[in-house]
Symmetry: C2
């Protein structure tokens, strides 16, 4: 049998956020950084040099050249959300597998066009949500699915906030309606909603209600919001995402038997080890609480970004070398998160009204 394919990646654009992924491509097995393309060749050259790309990485003065390069198997697209549909469709038509930054689109309708383009061209789709590829996340999922240790979910709280500076509030793409119009909801909120869905094993909520305290900038982009998700049996999720609060990160899932708490769920404090805390059905009583939590340490062979690339390369290899079908798991997760985002956005726009999730 042939050797596993070394998947060659092209990066579209010189985004700040692409640096981590470029590094991850260089770290991951079966992966190579084939090309970087920017609308400005000089910018691309500077970026390649500043980030120590190997001499083998081709540098192009346009995105199209990356897509036209027959040596490139897959593209990583960190372009602003407003440009994604256009470039994903082009990339898919050129049979490039697509690793797409989140939020993947403005709406589910737009995402469906993206997914349809990938589907029709037989290319793999995955969004750039790194934490799902960390072995800690797998370990947490095992705990959350354990009827004895965790029981039935009652509530999942998730938070991701940080405070941006004045420059960001004026100039960053994430506060521009035509570029990243979902603002904090599409960025920080993406992770909070993802955590809620992870806790319910990706069951969509029945309805959502936004709190009536969303903050928008003058152009109408969300800088901060909160919402509740509601499933059957009174299970609920509460999340809060913000660009204008102190930095905070955390998810707490409370079950009938146990509790799971993790602080740095999106980006672990350390790159090679991460932890989470659980409380099992214990001896804490109403009047005599006991400190009974257990910290679980999970080591990771590679940083979570590199584990994401490794997984994506493995899927591409399966398609190219073994003729396997594309893996639908990742697009299903992206789509469910987007369905919830759309519902939360609708609820915010209606002053916190209850919005059914289709």
């Amino acid at each position: 049998m042939a050797e596993p394919t070394t998947v060659s990646y092209g990066i579209l654009g010189c985004a700040e956020r692409a640096k981590k992924v470029a590094k991850a491509i260089l770290q991951a097995p079966n992966s190579s950084l084939g090309a970087i393309g920017s609308r400005s060749i000089d910018k691309a050259k500077d970026y390649a040099q500043a980030n120590e790309f190997p001499p083998s990485t081709k540098v192009y003065g346009s995105y199209d050249e990356v897509l036209d390069d027959p040596d490139i198997d897959a593209v990583y697209i960190p372009l602003p959300t407003g440009l994604r549909l256009h470039w994903v469709v082009k990339a898919a038509e050129k049979k490039k597998h697509v690793l797409l930054e989140k939020p993947v689109a403005f709406t589910v309708e737009e995402l469906d066009k993206i997914l349809s383009a990938c589907e029709c061209n037989g290319v793999q789709f995955m969004d750039g949500t790194m934490w799902l590829h960390h072995p800690r996340t797998t370990s947490m999922e095992e705990f959350l699915r354990d009827p004895l240790r965790f029981g039935q979910l009652k509530e999942i709280q998730s938070t991701l906030t940080w405070k941006v500076d004045e420059n960001f509030l004026k100039n960053d793409i994430r506060v521009k309606p035509e570029l990243d119009g979902l603002g904090a909801l599409g960025d920080a909120g993406w992770y909070c909603i993802g955590a809620s869905l992870l806790a319910t094993d990706y069951e969509l909520p029945k309805y959502v209600t936004a709190q009536n305290n969303a903050v928008k900038n003058e152009a109408g982009v969300i800088l901060s919001c909160e919402a509740s998700l509601h499933w059957d049996d009174g299970r609920s999720g509460n999340f809060r995402c913000s660009f204008i609060s102190d930095w905070s990160m955390g998810m707490t899932a409370t079950g009938t038997n146990g509790t799971l708490y993790v602080m740095d769920y999106v980006i672990p404090f350390k790159t090679d080890v991460a932890s989470y805390t659980t409380k099992l059905p214990g001896n804490s009583t109403e009047t005599e609480p006991k400190e009974e939590s257990v910290t679980h340490i999970v080591k990771n062979e590679l940083p979570q970004e590199a584990l994401m690339i490794k997984e994506f390369s493995s899927l591409v290899d399966g398609i190219k070398r073994l003729g396997l079908p594309t893996e639908k798991k990742w697009q299903t997760i992206s789509r469910k998160i987007h369905i919830v985002i759309d519902a939360v956005l609708a609820s915010i726009d209606r002053g916190g009204e209850k919005v059914e999730v289709p």
Copy 2:
């Protein structure tokens, strides 16, 4: 000047929850356990023996005898909520100072009758919320009021849940509408709402909305509920209280500059020392979070129950010996918590409708 009064306490009823307070009366300075009264003299005798009350503690076969005893200065009333109005009014008329278990009444209207009886008779009122008397709470308040370290409050989350057994669900007074009809909202929820108000320096929210997932027993008593409190400027509080979830306790206050987290806020894990965690404006960024929290350790000379008794005795001493007026701080806090409870209850009864706080 005369020596500080040793305040002599009488306890009405042999409640399970009175054990801790009885012990605290014996531990606190300037306090003595003068009498215990029960509707059954045998039960009172057994209770006094089982809890090692000193020989000087008088044992009565009725509550009235405690109130008629001229040596008793103050009464601790742990009777079910449904009996409190009657016995507080009687106690106040006998000029006994009143330490009352929470929830202090069924409604604010009822509480106002209680407070009025105390007022007219010049006796001190305090409810039995112990954690407010712990020096850790004072230290947390200093942090929350600090414009540099904490900034402006954005969100306060508070939780208190535990899982009761079948026997409790059938027989405990806290699931009987005529005895403790507020159920988990009046019990665990009392602390959650108290934490929210503490974080806003006791500013009442503008409105509340309950989540549409409250669980009630067949008699209509709340076993579990969640709600959001809303203040001006988008400040929000989310709480969850339950008798039917895994044990969990915690409050997280997020400000524009810093964050405060404490797990065991209601009952510290240890009786002589407690801690809370803060995060200051630090170096955590969106892409590079850093573990920067600081744990603050606060020692306490006495368990928080005894500190509550010490404070109450000191107020009674001030009134008796120095002719000071009664301290209104404690009744103001009790009343505000009750106003919020009433609003949450109204929202639950209206399926989660927004309810303005008067």
